[in-house]
């Protein structure tokens, strides 16, 4: 794991308070502090015997390294030039097919999203927590809480967050929170229609009804004073009927000067496939908000259906009218956002397939980045915190004496002094997310896994699941390796100072 290099390098200063491993800008007093415990011995000072002795002691580690690091690297390079069974030489064939598949663009894009977003945000959060925890009481407890997620395996974290982001508000915490807020602002109607599940208000219209303005339903024929109107709805389930307390439908009787009518559930248990007829075993739909419309669409008056589904518009006067069942009745309330879905945050649907693959930012990527921040923010905080404790307080004091505000001190003194630590965290995290894998495998549901896949996941899928192709998988591993090299070199240089 990539966590080890900075962790180990920075551990001594955290314990001793002396920044042996933390590179500090030249010229600061600590860099030349006599308390530095290790001084590097000039290499090659001893004779042949000396060298032999050290080589002998190095041998076990060297052989170990050769066996578990160098050999696999070489074998991977070799396999990337061979076919799926690693027996026939195919030259650069695997690389060609890697770059000719459409999914490689998606993999690269996701790697780019991770590398661009995650390391900077996690370093920022780490810095924020480190600076803030320095100043509060109970800072140890706070730090422990922030740091805690790192003790979970990535798989466990992924499963936790998969549940947190679940689509069903009864399961997923995030959707439950959004639902509470949303239903408070926008309460659902008595007969909710779940649009995101493919239901439509128009599909409820069964007899005497058609789609009306903005999500409402409207009677298809016109009525005048003294007429009766029967409006049938389908797709209302038994549980809803219980909730609203629906009772047997009573066909309306005409009344002079008024338009009377009935809204009923057009599903008869005794005649399950017959529509447009009020049977004795059908029920009326209570609580529906209705509006009486003139021919030009302006509203005259409104009413609500009673327990039997009956309604009455009194003294309507002359003219012909239509009855509208208001859209409000069907408002669905919040039914969940598919946080782990592959819908894009950037508007790319009008673009070509390749451009889409290149420019889409699937929502699931962001959800996973949030989960990964939760895992790693504590680590960044601890490393940066260690850097903070080793800062030369005199400089801060001097700044304060000179009248600098806390903000200025942070920007002009703390940040520059901390910069080397921040860069180490940043680069470590870049390496970390370049090979991001386990969180995607375990957190993205199968249906969006293809859109959330990265190079490392593609490497795993080609090499270890289903039909195994070690050549393709190795080629991906080599590409990934080449991508990590710059970050690795930069980190090594910094560590050496």
């Amino acid at each position: 794991m990539s966590s080890r290099s900075p962790g180990r390098e920075l551990a001594p200063p955290a314990e001793t308070g002396v920044p042996t491993g933390v590179p500090t800008p030249a010229g600061t007093p600590v860099a030349t502090s006599p308390a530095v415990p290790f001084t590097r011995k000039p290499a090659g000072g001893g004779g042949w015997r000396d060298q032999f002795g050290s080589l002998l002691f190095l041998a076990p580690a060297a052989i170990w390294l050769l066996a578990i690091t160098i050999y696999p690297v070489v074998a991977t390079f070799r396999n990337s030039l061979y076919d799926e069974t690693a027996t026939n030489y195919v030259g650069l064939g695997n690389y060609k097919s890697v770059f000719s598949t459409a999914s490689i663009i998606v993999n690269f894009r996701n790697n780019v999203i991770w590398v661009v977003v995650f390391p900077f945000v996690v370093t920022f959060l780490g810095l924020l927590f480190a600076v803030l925890t320095e100043r509060i009481r109970w800072s140890t407890a706070f730090k422990a809480i922030i740091f805690m997620p790192i003790v979970f395996s990535a798989t466990a974290s992924a499963l936790i967050w998969r549940t947190i982001f679940d689509l069903d508000p009864h399961v997923g915490m995030v959707n439950a929170a959004v639902q509470t807020a949303s239903d408070w602002v926008n309460p659902p109607g008595l007969y909710p229609v779940n649009v995101s599940a493919g239901q439509t208000v128009a599909a409820l219209a069964s007899s005497g009804l058609g789609p009306g303005a903005s999500g409402s339903l409207q009677s298809t024929s016109t009525a005048a004073a003294g007429d009766t109107v029967e409006l049938g709805l389908i797709g209302i389930n038994a549980a809803t009927l219980q909730v609203v307390g629906a009772q047997t439908a009573v066909p309306p009787s005409p009344s002079s000067g008024a338009i009377t009518g009935l809204v009923y559930r057009d599903f008869s248990p005794s005649h399950p496939t017959v529509r447009g007829q009020v049977f004795p075993d059908e029920v009326g739909l209570p609580g529906l908000r209705l509006t009486l419309l003139r021919g030009d669409g302006t509203s005259v008056t409104s009413t609500t259906t009673d327990q039997h589904g009956d309604f009455r518009f009194e003294n309507v006067g002359s003219g012909s009218f239509q009855v509208q069942i208001d859209a409000k009745n069907f408002q669905s309330g919040f039914t969940g956002i598919f946080w782990l879905g592959s819908q894009s945050l950037t508007p790319t649907s009008h673009l070509s397939e390749t451009a889409q693959a290149l420019l889409s930012v699937p929502l699931v990527d962001l959800a996973m980045i949030v989960a990964y921040l939760w895992m790693w923010a504590g680590f960044a905080m601890v490393v940066i915190g260690a850097g903070l404790t080793s800062l030369n307080r005199e400089l801060l004091e001097a700044g304060r004496v000179d009248g600098a505000t806390e903000g200025q001190i942070f920007r002009r003194i703390t940040m520059p002094l901390l910069a080397p630590v921040l860069v180490v965290v940043l680069v470590t995290m870049i390496i970390n997310v370049l090979k991001i894998f386990d969180i995607i495998l375990n957190m993205a549901p199968g249906s969006s896994q293809g859109d959330a896949s990265t190079l490392a996941l593609a490497m795993y899928n080609d090499g270890f699941t289903g039909g195994i192709h070690s050549g393709l998988s190795s080629a991906l591993a080599v590409i990934l390796f080449l991508l990590v090299i710059p970050a690795m070199v930069s980190n090594l240089r910094r560590i050496r100072g």
């Binding site: 995101s196 549980a239 809803t240 005794s270 549901p445 199968g446 249906s447 192709h469």
Partner: protein
Amino acid sequence: MKPRILTFAIVGGLLLAACGTSNAPTSSSVQGGSVSLWAEWSSGEQAAFTAALTPFESQNGVTVNYSSKGSNIDTVLAAAVAGGAPPDVALIPDPGTLQTLAKQGKITDLTSILGGLSSNYGSAWNTLGSYNGKLYGVWFKGANKNTIWYNPAEFAAASISSPPKTWEELIQDVNTLKAAGVTPFSLCTDVGWPVADFWQNVYLKTAGADKYNALAAHSVKWTDPTVTTAFTTMAQLVGTPSNLAGGLQGSLSNAYPACVDKVFPKAGAQPQAAMVFEGDFVATEITGNSKNYTPGTTGSGGASCTTDPSKTPCYNFFDFPAPSANSANSAAIQGAGDVAVMLKDTPQSEALIKYLAGPDAAAIWAHLGGFASPNKKVPASAYPDPVSKGIAQALVGASSFVFSLDDLQGTWEKNMWQDLLDYLKNPSSSSISSIEATMDQQATAGLGH
């Protein structure tokens, strides 16, 4: 020949006696010795299987050395055969392995050993256990993926008295359910294999078993009109999001067995859909959700089925229907199974194979539950409930039996699953033709032809 076979069957349990009268050369009662037997079953299944073998051991004095090899029995067996130390008898879950072993001459031709016993199985099964016209295997256990599970209380809410027999009736029932406000279907399609199982059933029912096997071998192209028919037929059901619990998005976020839970919820929840498709293993999920679920169409104690899982809920299944124009395919079944093959010809292994081909062992396991036999002679009364009986009867009566097509696709199986998911996301006819073209390319690349 017929009357003698019938006598055989009636004698049933007294298989030994039957063996005595058969024309097999070495079958007069074996006494003593041992036989080594490999199969994939472990834990509960192993206990049931060994219980099924107990009468054989006590009647013959033969010790059966059973060894469970888990799900990678194919690999283990291949290694043992190559190493020259195979077991006497093995039960393998893959007809392809049977073909390979028969081709290599590593398993024994059972035609004369079994004699009349082979008529315990329908021709679909004997064909599946044969290589070059000779019978090499006995299909001891079968699994049925031809099952659509439904909540009888939800059907009752829509006044559907009997489950659909044809695809057209299914679509009609779907509309009736929707009119009654019941969401018809629940899918677990966060990954591709459940879509594949579903699609394969539709293909089998519309195109028939011969085409199915040809497509599996890619001698029928994925751009074939029969493939298009299967896609458009399936779209009648899955192409309308309101047919699915949670719509398309909900289906894509459901991991198996979440879709089963939506039809057969745990206590405290209400069903959100009426039907769910998957193989016979769904029954375990349902009864795992609540012990209250009673198989069949009446709740426990004869009460009527309730949607409330804490009262008297029920579960039942109906056979995946074929369109009425393709009714010839209605008894074609997709599934899986375990076939007994003989790797060493000893009197003990012959006796064991004959015992497995008879109804006794299967009847014992059937009674213990979680088992279905394609053997005609296993009495229906051996099954503890109407659902397991129905599953077994479908296996027995199968006009043809095919294995899961995706598992035969090698390296491009994953691509196939992804393509089918893409289809589910957009089942329009223009998308179907481009998906077919992609699939055919991938099949060509993956299978090398």
